[in-house]
Amino acid sequence: MSQEVISGSRRKFLFLALLLTVALAVSLLFSLSVGTSLVSPKEVLTCLIAFECGKSAKLVVDMRFVRACVAALSGAMLALAGTLVQGLTRNPLADPYIIGVSSTSLAVVSAAVLLSPSVLVHRQVLIAVAFAGALLGYILTTTISLLSGGSGTSLVLSGIAVSALFSGISHVLLYLSQNRIAQLGRNYVFLLLGSTSGVLRQDITYLAISLATSLAIIFVLGIPKALNAYLFGELYASQLGYRVRALTATTALVSSVLTGATVAVVGVVGFIGLAGPHIARISAGTSDHRATVVLSALTGSILTVLADALTRAISAISSWGELPLGVVTGIIGAPFLAYLVVKGGRG
């Protein structure tokens, strides 16, 4: 009897995973055909399928491909990190930035710019500095959390303390360095606001390496199963033989690597890390982390790819230029989430 239930939900999971993968492929194709230059979707399709490209079409498809890949990877990473953090804190309102990685990253970047403006020149250096800042946030948060017992609640509270401290520090530093960063009508808070407009080919590698490492850690250590037990309480998890402190610290580390890499490459993108996991959970009808880890990565990916395509479409027809990605992810994702919530609440 119980065996049947499990195989039934497994079949549902496989079906959903397949469906979402197809949807991701379709969104990627759609994303490749939208852009600010006048290359027709037909030309793009022949370029992709038949490998017959004009020189200019190939260049355009190349650049869109880089952007779409970065969007897909960072969306997957954020939603994955969101699933882990929500499980870790047992809080459905937690998003991956709650560990404090974005504010420390911003603080370290602005300190570096203040010390030497040439940091701004090299994208690789900028990414390395931002990532180091994100890890610094993780180390601080986990240290404070472990000193206070290492529970999920203490992690949230330490994260809030670290975020508050470093967003204060980063605003002071940016205020001091704003003659370099924002000489004109631009306010300094726009720094690190997520966008894929300036990403380069090498960024795909950075993101892919972080995602692959994180996935390896997640599955080798069996984090999804451990988180399932952890949902029922720390005592329950430790009675099942899981080391709670090690579990919280590792899960927080993986989430920080995932979030820190996206902050360093594309900046802060809201909504995905918060809502991606919910969309995955509601559509799968389960909170089993073995399923939601995979499904949330796929839904996050799809949402971000579509949002990125929409920012380009808006840039092509309006006079605003590229909008921040986080705004558009919310516009696309929120109605869908609302629909699922209403449907889930009824069913």
Binding site: G35, T36, S37, L38, V39, S56, L59, V60, M63, R64, R67, P117, S118, L120, V121, H122, R123, L126, Y175, Q178, N179, R180, I181, A182, Q183, L184, G185, R186, N187, F190, L191, S195, T196, S197, G198, L200, R312, S315, S319, W320, G321, E322, L323, P324, V327, V328, G330, I331, A334, P335, A338, Y339, V342, K343, R346
Partner: protein
């Protein structure tokens, strides 16, 4: 009955309504957040021209500032605080330097400003973005002049007026063309009754710009000029450019170039696809104090290396004085047009001479 209808039959309608409302709210938030978006367009619609309001008593002078406020002066102000480098430049160009008691830490032109500051005859009231209101008030000025496009300046208004200090806003960083700069000069001149000096200055500026534009018009004979990409900072910082309604955008077109970001408003973020499909002939980058050779190398490692500009070695970095000239909507606007013209048409005006303009070394090997 209604209860039942609400739970079953109309649920889809409810979902649709919720979705539409959220979509509209999202778009509204997006428009509010979008950098330099609709707000900037709105401010340019009702253009308050500095009118000469004829007054029966010659002692009383009234001006209408860039916000459309009428400010009345009973006498000529004697102690003035300038909140923007361009305002300081206008005051000194009109020979009003002896009235200035406070400037920002960015005010470095004309050269007598830093000299007067180091002698302690002019005080520094903070930065352009963060003027210190206490310092401004402690200088006991009759008049504070700020930039209408700079929010921290607008936030000072009530505080200063409460302290009995008159505040006038000029277009400043909101200026979108020579005409806004001319208006700023006339507004300031009228307050101090130095209209003659202002007209002389404006004539000079217009004459210099006119000779540049005539030279270009004669040489190009109406054909479209080279395409120019302006970047506000290194590409790693984000591809921020200057839209068609900005000061830089106006300078580029006055100097005979076609600004490829001209269809945008404010300071848009571009992407590599947009830039490459417009294939700029010239790229001008505000270097922001970074290392020049490193910056050119970095530009070569981005898709910008595929542009005609990079292939032909026409990437220019502007920094320090050159950057100040291009960024400040003040009396040096003619120098700004000349500088941009020598970048765009070196065959007519020679390579740029203003420090610091750095041109990348030689055409890149194909």
């Amino acid at each position: 009955m209604t209860h039942k209808a609400l739970t079953h039959g109309r649920s889809i309608a409810v979902v649709v309504v919720v979705a539409v409302v959220m979509l509209l709210a999202g778009i509204a938030i997006g428009m509010a957040i979008s950098p330099g978006g609709s707000t900037q367009i709105a401010t340019t619609i009702h253009v308050p021209i500095t009118q000469v309001v004829t007054s029966t008593r010659p002692a009383q002078i009234s001006v209408i500032d860039a916000l459309g406020r009428e400010v009345v002066f009973d006498g000529v102000p004697k102690r003035v605080v300038s909140l923007a480098p361009s305002v300081t430049e206008i005051l000194f160009a009109l020979g009003l330097g002896d009235r200035v008691v406070g400037v920002t830490s960015f005010c470095n032109y004309p050269p007598e400003v830093p000299r007067l500051v180091s002698e302690g005859r002019i005080s520094v009231i903070g930065g352009f973005w963060n003027p210190d209101s206490e310092k401004v008030v402690s200088l006991k000025p009759d008049l504070v002049i700020g930039s209408a496009g700079t929010r921290p300046h607008l936030q000072l208004k009530d505080l200063l007026e409460e302290a009995g200090i008159k505040v006038v806003y000029v277009y400043g960083n909101d200026a979108g063309s020579l005409y806004d700069v001319v208006r700023d000069i006339r507004t300031i001149a009228r307050i101090f009754g130095v209209e003659d000096a202002a007209e002389k200055l404006i004539k000079e500026i217009e004459g210099e710009i006119g000779s540049v534009t005539i030279t270009i018009a004669n040489a190009t004979r109406g054909s479209a000029g080279p395409k120019v990409l302006f970047l506000l900072g290194p590409p790693a910082f984000g591809l921020y450019s200057a839209g068609g309604d900005t000061f830089i955008g106006w300078i580029i077109s006055a100097a005979g170039g076609v600004n490829i970001a001209g269809k945008f408003s404010g300071w848009p973020v571009l992407d590599y696809e947009y830039i490459l499909s417009n294939d700029p002939d010239i790229i001008v980058v505000s270097a922001m104090g970074t290392n020049y050779t490193e910056l050119v190398k970095e530009i070569g490692s981005t898709p910008l290396a595929e542009t005609k500009a990079y292939r032909e070695g026409r990437v220019y970095l502007v920094d320090q004085e050159a950057n100040d000239v291009l960024m400040r909507p003040g009396p040096r606007i003619a120098s700004a047009v000349k500088l941009m013209a020598s970048i765009i048409h070196p065959e007519l005006f020679g390579e740029p001479e203003t420090p610091v303009v750095y041109r990348m070394a030689g055409p890149a090997k194909p």
